[in-house]
Amino acid sequence: MTLPKSPVRDAPELPSTFGPFGGRYVPEILIPAVEAVEVAVREALADPIFRDRLAAEAREWIGRPTPLTHAARLGEAWGAEIWLKREDLAHTGAHKINNALGQAWIAKRMGAKRVLAETGAGQHGVATAAACARIGLPCRVYMGALDVARQAPNVQRMRLFGAEVVAVESGDRTLRAAIDEALRAWAGDPEGSYYLIGSAVGPAPYPALVAELQSVIGEEARGQWLECHGAPPEHVVACIGGGSNAIGLFRAFLEDETMLHGIEAGGRSDRLGDHGATLAHGRVGILHGARSLLLQDDEGQVQVTHSISAGLDYPGVGPEHAELAARGRVRYDSVRDADAVAALHSLSRTEGVLPALESAHAIAGARRIAERHPGAGILIGCSGRGDKDLGILASLEEVDA
């Protein structure tokens, strides 16, 4: 029997910058806390007992490895060889749990009295609440008031896991405001709280840490693909908000000849404010502790974004993606709300898999790739399941009716 690989590789180097992107831009009050996280992360990742425990929890509690599913009927319809990496089958229904569990253990090792987290769609909040329940740590989740309304089932799940959910009424009342508020709360208690950030964003070491904890997705997927096909896929595609599932999937393929595609939220139109396509339309800026690309105006004010999926509704992007875009290793593209919804329906009807609206962007991206490259082998990161989006889907049907 082969055991799944540990989600953490040997003695990892955690870079603080990615080319000109990344870094650590936080208020002075948070500098000691961020430095403490960095030390704790390095120690934890180098500790074989920690890694074994994490690997065992990944297996027994998260349910890793997640399967690679051949989407034969969808592939037939779109004229390509399509496979899905099923992070929707990970415990709590999305890839977010890989990161939440690893970081919650780090928080515990550091002796944190409580965990703070932000959430957009609620998937990271649910994952963090579950991991904290499993480990026995108090947890407070900041969530934009708009997202609390549009992702109500996830709010209920967090509360069932014993987390306190704070509806953020400031700023744009979505993910960005939730991160602002979580950073403020951390600044208020930098010694007692651990900030468990949910995407590959934020000040160093978070982007590298999150990528490290998520790289299990790509490592498994590459091995599973090779087992079936003998050679790496021609295309790998994933959706991108902050970019944690994408970086986790892409990392294993960076040295291959595989074409990597990151799909951002194209929203309603290309107009600023109508989308979340930071890599397509953003300019260099500093937000949430890192230098990266940002959707901003000429005054350096960060702009409100739009996406049908709360998880992609974010004006920034992880610094490693900004660097991969700058050197052309990953091709970034965007998909409109309507195309994502259509792709969600296609996958649901052909394969009996209901993806999250976030993941549906990757599926729509794969359709485009299939049109350009008939017969190509395409691996799609199915980052989460769509049960949380039933309310949104129902309201769309009412509009159509």
């Binding site: 009050i29 600044a187 350096g300």
Partner: protein
């Protein structure tokens, strides 16, 4: 009086030592740019400048993570009304009072202005010092800004907190210009601070820097002002002043009460 030949740092230090020579604590006031509205901002600036020793003006930012709810809300309203960096600089340039001015801005609006040329533009708008709450000195942008500030005579004011390690504190103080901004407690601006817990921190800072020290974050009452007399050169009041302006109140009586509390007779 403002002298063109002095650097911003020298003007700030002069204002703070004048207060010390007069045996009183200096009052440092903070205003959100563009409030209570775009028209009335200039008048408010003049009224507050006439009652304080040093005036900090905040450039509103969409994501003010170092600020508490009161200042964040005021900044949001200012941006929603269309307030811009140019408008802020126009207002400071037109200010007649000799009170030294400090701009408080997050990194990203300064980045949009261009770090290389931003300090020169601030100097033209008669600004003397700069606080950037989310830009550590030990970043590429921090180094670039420090050089540009030196060239234009803008004092880049550094923040020190009770949690800053001794080693880092030495490096921060080396780079500090104008005054040292002592953050009295963890957290954002606004919530009230127990000043007695900070006295040791302030005393050790005083031993480590020849620069004046101004204390801020969570200062709002005359009692707090009295408790800090003689311990620091300056007393920064932000949120409590901003709240009054947001409520449409005349801020002058409040500032006068703080001035009175900061007055002390020689021992």
């Amino acid at each position: 009086m403002k002298s063109a030949s002095l650097s911003g740092a020298a003007r700030i230090e002069a204002a703070l030592s004048r207060a010390r020579n007069e045996h009183r604590g200096a009052l440092v006031a903070y205003l959100v740019g563009g409030r209570p509205d775009r028209e009335a901002f200039r008048e408010t600036l003049a009224a507050v400048a006439a009652r304080c020793d040093l005036l900090e003006v905040g450039m509103p930012f969409s994501d003010p993570v170092a600020d508490g709810p009161a200042i964040a809300r005021a900044a949001g309203r200012s941006l929603a009304s269309g307030f811009t960096f140019d408008e802020l600089l126009g207002a400071t340039a037109a200010l007649e009072a000799p009170t030294p001015l400090v701009l408080f801005s997050y990194s990203n609006p300064l980045l949009a202005l261009g770090l290389e040329r931003a300090p020169a533009r601030l100097a033209e708008a008669r600004i003397d010092g700069l606080v950037v709450p989310d830009l550590p000195f030990d970043t590429p942008e921090g180094e670039e800004l420090a050089h540009a500030c030196e060239r234009s005579g803008i004092a880049w004011i550094q923040l020190v907190t009770p949690l800053t390690t001794a080693r880092r504190r030495a490096r921060v103080l080396e780079r500090a210009r104008g005054f040292v901004y002592a953050v009295l407690r963890a957290g954002t601006t606004g919530a009230e601070t127990d000043t007695s817990a900070s006295l040791e921190f302030l005393a050790s800072l005083r031993r480590e820097t020849p620069l004046p020290v101004c204390a801020g974050f969570g200062l709002r009452t005359a009692d707090q002002a009295r408790s800090l007399r003689g311990r620091v050169e300056g007393f920064v009041v932000g949120t409590a002043l901003v709240e009054r302006i947001e409520r449409g109140e005349d801020p002058r009586p409040y500032l006068d009460s703080l001035r009175t509390a900061l007055h002390t007779s020689p021992r």
